[in-house]
Structure formats: C-alpha cells, structure tokens
C-alpha cells in the first residue's frame, strides 16, 4: 500500500536531512503510529506521501502511484485517495458541518446527488447526525475534529493521514477520536497517525514507527511509546 525506499529529504535551508535513508512499508488496512520528537521528520514523512514535498533521494509509492516521479497533473488523483486530519481541524468557519464535508466532494467535481447521499451517511458514522446545520464555532473541539475526520473520510480514501489529531483535545475526547479512527481503520482504510500522545499509543498496541533525527530507529508491530526510556 505504502512503500518508502531509501528516502532522504534535505531542505534547502537546512544542513541536516529531515529524512535520512528511510525505508519502510505499510500494508493495506494497517494502523500505524508515527512517533518521535518535534523535528524528527514525522511531518516530512507525511508530506512526502501527499506529494507536498518531493524526496531528494529514494522512491515513494502510495497504492499504484509512484509519488516522487508522477506528473503534477496526476497529483490531484493521488490526493483524492488520501484523507487528511490535522491538529487544528482546518474547518471553514463560514460553512456548516454538512457544507464543510460536502465541500471536499464539490471541489473534486462529485455530482450533487452523490453528495446529498453520502454526506449524511458519513456524519452518522462519526456521530454527528443532528448537527449538520451547526457552524464549527458552535461545536466542541472533539466535535470539530469529528467533522474534519468526516471530511477526510467522505470520499472513502485508501489511506487516512492524521497529524496529531488529538493534540488539541482532552484525554477523554482523544479516546473518542481514537475509537472513531479505529472504526475507520476496520473498514479497510490504512491509518497513519503522527502523535506525541503516550497514553494513546500505549493503550492501542498498534504498529509503532519511531523517527529520530530523520532515521527510523524503531519499528514494532505492537509497540508502546516510551520503550527503553
């Protein structure tokens, strides 16, 4: 599903590589935690998958896409097969919950009748039925993140990338969000989550890939956050 082969990324403004000869493979349907301190290369890793960045060396494969080599014109196709969730939710404040989710489909040209059908479905999946017409500011942080997850998932992506999705949430709410991500993972969607949250990683017992100074220093099939520290 996802494969990085000897990937290095050096930013022009930095002497140290953000990623240094990283090779890692993730199967379809896996749930993977990407951990490591700030500056360890987690964000670069995720940005390479989305082709927000191009690797300096090495190859990146997502599904059938040769991400590093593909033409600019095909990038939208890649991104349509990847859903994204962020720490800061990134909702549009002028649109309602339903409109925020529908937006993701509108801008990729989905027909109206598809949109009115799938948006309520996904809102029910994330537990927001009944709040379709609320605005993001009227929702709690956890609810806002649910909207963001609904938006990321509404197009049924192959991969869901979550960059510290619980970073702004309290532990209980974080737990709810993790349950939701697990449910999405059970539909066969590969989930890659970058996080600093010890509790979550330790309780979920999923695969853990740890980055440090741009290198993979640990890859445990059922890992915890702070092993050996």
């Amino acid at each position: 599903m996802i494969r990085l082969e000897h990937v290095s990324k050096v930013y022009k403004t930095s002497t140290r590589p953000a990623l240094d000869d990283v090779s890692v493979e993730m199967e379809k349907g896996e749930f993977v935690f990407l951990i490591g301190p700030s500056g360890s290369g987690k964000s670069t890793f995720l940005r390479l998958l989305l082709r927000e960045e191009v690797p300096t060396r090495g190859r990146v494969y997502v599904s059938n896409f040769d991400v590093a080599k593909m033409s600019r014109r095909r990038v939208p196709r890649l991104r349509q097969s990847i859903g994204c969730v962020f720490q800061d939710f990134r909702l549009l404040p002028t649109k309602t919950v339903a409109e925020n989710v529908a937006f993701a489909l509108e801008v990729i040209g989905k027909p109206r009748n598809t949109i009115v059908k799938v948006v309520p479905e996904v809102l029910q999946l994330v537990g927001l039925d009944g709040k379709e017409d609320r605005f993001p500011t009227e929702l709690s942080g956890g609810e806002q993140q649910r909207v963001a997850i609904a938006r990321a998932f509404v197009n049924r992506p192959l991969v869901l990338i979550a960059d510290e999705p619980t970073g702004n949430l309290d532990p209980d709410t974080s737990q709810d969000i993790m349950l939701l991500l697990e449910r999405i993972n059970r539909t066969g969607t590969t989930v890659i989550m970058a996080t600093h949250d010890h509790g979550i990683v330790d309780s979920m017992r999923r695969r853990v890939v740890e980055l440090s100074y741009g290198k993979v220093v640990r890859d445990d099939a059922r890992g915890v956050y702070g092993v050996g520290r």
């Binding site: 989305l50 990038v75 939208p76 196709r77 890649l78 991104r79 349509q80 097969s81 990847i82 859903g83 994204c84 990134r90 549009l92 937006f103 993701a104 509108e106 801008v107 990729i108 040209g109 027909p111 109206r112 938006r151 197009n155």
Partner: protein, 300 residues
C-alpha cells in the same frame, strides 16, 4: 466541473473584496472608456475623410473692391482671373460666387447659430472663385499662381484647413489612447493585486481544496473568473459611460458643427460598433493578467 460551485465561489470572492473589486472595475472602465473614445475619434476621422474626398476646393477670395462692384464678374480684373483659372491645367471647374450668394451660403451653414448670424454683415463676405481640382492634393499650383495678383485677397485652401483639423483630431485620439494605456496599466496592477488578496483571504479553502485533490482548474478558475467578471462589468460601465457622454455632453457641444455638416455626428451605432472591442480587450486583459498572476505570484 460543477459550474454552480465555481460561480458561488466567484460571487463570494467578489463580495469579500468589495472595495478592491470596485477599484478594479472603475479603473478598467475608465481605461476602456478612453480606448473607446479614441476608437470613436478614429471612426470620425475616417468618415470625414470619406465625406470630403473629392469635394475639396480651393477658394480664391477677391478683394473688397471687386466684391462690392462686380456682382457678375464681367469687369476686370475679375473676368481675367476667371479665364486664367479656367485655363490652368488640373482645374476641373471654376464657380464664381458673388457677395450675396456667399452671404446666403454663410446663413445656411450657420443657421443653427442665430447669434452669429445677427453679427454677420454681407460686407464681410468676399466674392469668391470656388475652384475644384482634378487632383485635390495639387492646390499649391493655384496658390502660387494667384496669390498676390491684383483683385485677389487670399487663396484659401480647404485641404490645408482640413489637414490641421485632422491633426487636431488625431492628437486628441493619441492623448485618449495614451491615457487609456496608462489606465490599463493601473487596471492590470489592480487585477493582479486583487487576485493576490483574494487568494490570501481564501488560503484556508484553497489549502483544503488542494489537500482533498481538487484539480488546478477547480482551485484557480474562481480567481480567474473573478477577474474576468470584473473586467466585463468594467467594459459595460465603459460603454454606458460613452453613451452618457454622447447623450449629455458631446451632442450638445458639437450640435452646430454636425448640423451644418462640418463634422459627421457620432451615433449610437458607432458606440455599438466600438463596444465589442472593449469587451474583447477587457476579457483578454483580465484573463491574461489573472493567469499570469496565478502562475507567478500565487502558490495554489
């Protein structure tokens, strides 16, 4: 492509930057209005040249003495001058017009200006030979041969006068076009700026669009259409401005000249003929500017 979505984005964009949008529209409108004015002058000059072609005459004005005493051009020096003119090579026709006939003609030309007619006296109008040439450009021959002869007051070359008049009109056209160009440059910068501001205020939306895999067309088209819509509104405003300018200003100040047939009137048809060019220029300029701006200055 969901057109309804793109257009709702366009409307939102234009509304959100309403002051910039208005500035953009007004600058475009003024630029196009000046361009339209310049084009109208070009049309007017063309029409005049067509009107006067073949009709140009050289007038040989006779002295006061001859004008007063020789109504039928039977005495000397008038009769002599006439036969000399008729014998000059290149001359097609020679028509003698005595003082009374000249005054009648004067009254006809200026019938729209009664104030002027009240002031005019027949004594001010000289008797005149109106000489038509086979080649209207060869007026110098008459001038050289007859200027200063006894009985001749002056040789008046309509061609020379018209040339000066055209020069004036062409100067007007050039000024209009230069101003149009300067305004167009300002409009260009404003369009570019508005798109950048617009893209900045919508960076979150655009970021999300990129992330969920919207194509370049989807992310950029709203900005492009925004610029083109503003351009079109600008050109409509410019055409409306030209119509109003004609109706309330131009018609009033040129009425006498047009009614007496000295200059051809500018009609609504002329504005109608010029306006598609203004639309075209507006669309091409705003679309090109928009595209270049998106390419060079906005990372979408």
């Amino acid at each position: 492509m969901r057109t309804s979505f793109v257009f709702s984005e366009v409307v939102t964009g234009l509304r959100r930057n309403v002051t910039m949008t208005i500035a953009m529209i007004l600058t475009t409108a003024i630029s196009l209005g000046l361009l339209g004015g310049g084009l109208l002058v070009v049309r007017m000059v063309d029409k005049m040249q067509a009107n006067y072609a073949g009709k140009l005459e050289v007038s040989v004005l006779l002295t006061n003495d001859v004008s007063a005493n020789d109504k039928d051009c039977t005495q000397q020096p008038c009769a002599g001058l006439r036969s000399q003119l008729e014998q000059t090579s290149g001359v097609e026709t020679v028509v003698f017009q005595n003082r009374d006939e000249g005054f009648e003609r004067f009254k006809r030309i200026f019938e729209a200006q009664p104030e002027l007619l009240k002031l005019a006296r027949p004594e001010a109008i000289p008797a005149t030979f109106r000489v038509k040439l086979e080649d209207p450009d060869r007026t110098d021959v008459i001038r050289q041969a007859f200027e200063g002869k006894p009985g001749v007051k002056a040789v008046d070359d309509q061609g020379k006068f018209l040339e000066r008049f055209f020069e004036g009109l062409n100067g007007l056209r050039d000024v209009a076009l230069i101003l149009a160009l300067i305004q167009a440059f300002a409009a260009l910068l404003l369009i570019s700026n508005t798109i950048q501001v617009s893209a900045f205020t919508r960076r979150v939306e655009v970021g999300i669009m990129r992330l969920v895999g919207a194509t370049r067309w989807y992310t950029q088209l709203p900005f492009l259409i925004e610029a083109v819509v503003a351009g079109i509104i600008g050109s409509v405003t410019a055409v409306a401005g030209l119509v109003l300018f004609k109706a309330f200003f131009l018609d009033r100040i040129t009425r006498n000249l047009t009614e007496s047939g000295i200059i051809p009137p500018i009609g609504y048809l002329d504005i109608l003929i010029v306006s598609p060019w203004l639309f075209l220029v507006a669309i091409v300029i705003s679309a090109t500017t928009g595209y270049v701006t998106l390419r060079l200055y906005v990372r979408l």
